[in-house]
Symmetry: C2
């Protein structure tokens, strides 16, 4: 890994990194580029990679144009870090070449998330898991990130044994194509035109679709199992049981979760509020207000509210949370992993 020594604003020597964004023309890829700029990431060089279709397109980064290049097996040769914002197939295809280039692969796909030698990281929760990486660090599923950030401070009050979750997931979860399809359907609906579907299995405007991902044999979808499987790994809670229903709703870019949590011990609503007030990555929105996807879009905190005692069990707490699916739910978390990696490496 080629690391140049540069001076930061205090005149201290600091490392800079050549970072590639794999999937630079997608919704998450674009948000990664934006986050690198906003967070003033110590970049040596930014490499934008995508499929042939996007080659030659330009993206503005800190006032300069950066051209998107075609991805091939040598695209990663000079890179220190590769941020993956592509699907499982492409992540699997390019992982060996990224490894060969000795670059760190921070991957947003679900291809490697549950592999033993791949840390699955939300920096606010299990940042030091990064230390065990073998070249790949996985970025969790968007709903998992939003849900885990909302509950982590509570899990520290008393161990969460199980959760019942229903999600209200934005169309951005299906990528930029999902967002375009949603906007096209909105237009067609208001103009009384026929509504076409391609990305989503059915019309999503003025509808909700209780399927995200393929069905498993147990009747749950792939997306529904992620919160349990990934949540166990992130929270270091191998016994955690999660019953989840994932639902696509006609919302542009923020996911919401209705969560009922069952703790080992009884905890009070007051204790929950107090814990959330200082919880990293969270913003408590208390009655008479509450989190809504519209309000928490285009920023990085997970908004948590509607906190109340579960009416079916004294050890239960019910809450509602929202977070920007593209930012903290994907792109920003990946950049935070980079930052944590740098902090730990130094």
């Amino acid at each position: 890994m080629l690391i140049l020594l540069m001076r930061n604003h205090k005149g201290e020597f600091m490392k800079t990194y050549t970072v590639a964004v794999l999937g630079a023309s997608g919704a998450v890829g674009k948000a990664m580029i934006q986050a690198l700029e906003e967070r003033n990431f110590p970049l040596k060089r930014l490499v934008l990679l995508a499929s042939e279709r996007s080659v030659g397109k330009r993206i503005l980064f800190k006032g300069k144009e950066v051209f998107i290049q075609k991805t091939d097996e040598h695209s990663f040769d000079d890179c220190d870090i590769v941020l993956g914002a592509v699907g499982n197939d492409l992540s699997k295809k390019y992982a060996p070449f990224i490894k060969k280039a000795h670059a760190l692969f921070i991957d947003n796909s679900s291809a490697f998330r549950l592999e033993d030698d791949v840390p699955l990281v939300i920096p606010e929760i299990n940042g030091t898991d990064i230390l065990h990486h073998q070249g790949i660090i996985a970025n969790p599923n968007c709903s998992t990130i939003i849900g885990c950030i909302a509950i982590y401070a509570l899990h520290q009050l008393s161990s969460i044994q199980s959760m019942i979750v229903s999600t209200y997931q934005a169309v951005s979860g299906a990528g930029i194509k999902g967002m375009y399809e949603y906007e096209k359907q909105l237009e067609d609906l208001t103009q009384n035109k026929e509504i076409n579907t391609d990305v989503f299995p059915y019309q999503i405007v003025s509808n909700v679709i209780p399927q995200i991902g393929e069905f498993n044999e147990n009747g749950y979808t792939g997306e529904e199992m992620k919160i349990q499987n990934e949540g166990r790994k992130i929270l270091h809670a191998p016994q955690l049981k999660v019953n989840c229903t994932c639902v696509r709703v006609p919302v542009l870019r923020s996911h919401s979760l209705s969560m009922t949590l069952y703790f080992e011990k009884e905890i009070t609503v007051g204790e929950v509020r107090e814990a959330l007030r200082s919880a990293q990555g969270c913003r408590l929105i208390d009655e008479p207000f509450y989190p809504m996807p519209l309000d928490c879009s285009n920023q990085d905190l997970i908004y948590v509210g509607r906190i109340r005692r579960d009416l079916t069990s004294s050890k239960g707490i019910t809450l509602w949370c929202c977070g920007d699916q593209i930012r903290k739910g994907a792109a920003v978390n990946a950049i935070q992993i980079c930052e944590k990696y740098i902090e730990l490496e130094v």
Copy 2:
């Protein structure tokens, strides 16, 4: 009560009824009129009542125009049955005059639902509770009707002890004004115009709002407590515990519910499916398909699907159901109460 003897199509003498619709210009009122026509209700005369604003408007009923009249204390004098499709205040205002006229009041508001001498009825479940009426029969909350129809056959397999429910409620739940506001917001969003709110507390298009009704001291809204309070009365299950989160979503007229049910005994997914196949008022939609609000609008069955074992408890079953909020969730259930009343009276 003035009852005329008329002959039906078989030549048998049958009773006919003078029915008033109180709130005839609203979404539920209009759907009640439509249901009276569709179900060929034995009408002697149809009286349409509304506020002064709607007086003189005409509604087509079986090919004939019926004029909307202003409601006053004498509006009910010749009526046998009054179908109430107005808010709590107007229901309470007119109830004494309906009683004075010796008419039966079938009320869709929540004003009388929990009163001891008022049956709260879903005909498929507790139709014979009608026998105890003292002049008022209450029509349950829309989400309560949809949820109870979905679970009643399962409750007969084994008593349901508790439920965790998250709702996805259509804008029609806020009446015809809510539907207009939703459609206006859709238009304004696609035309990049400023979005105004009046009926809903916030923009509902491209958003979800986790508040329906006012907040109680326990942090739950009025709407959220209805499923427990009304469900207990309808199912004759005074111990039933329901933890509900009610959420408004940008959908026109069908509500969806994500429900996790905890039974006294363990029951299998196969038993649930079998029970739902023959459950009154239900339609089982099995994988790879599932109920969606778009599909179950403008008809009267509750669609139930996504049936699977709860992953947190062996006594739990999780399912998803949808129903037309205006029809079975309100208007049609009220007409079915009328029909059951006639059947029991005869």
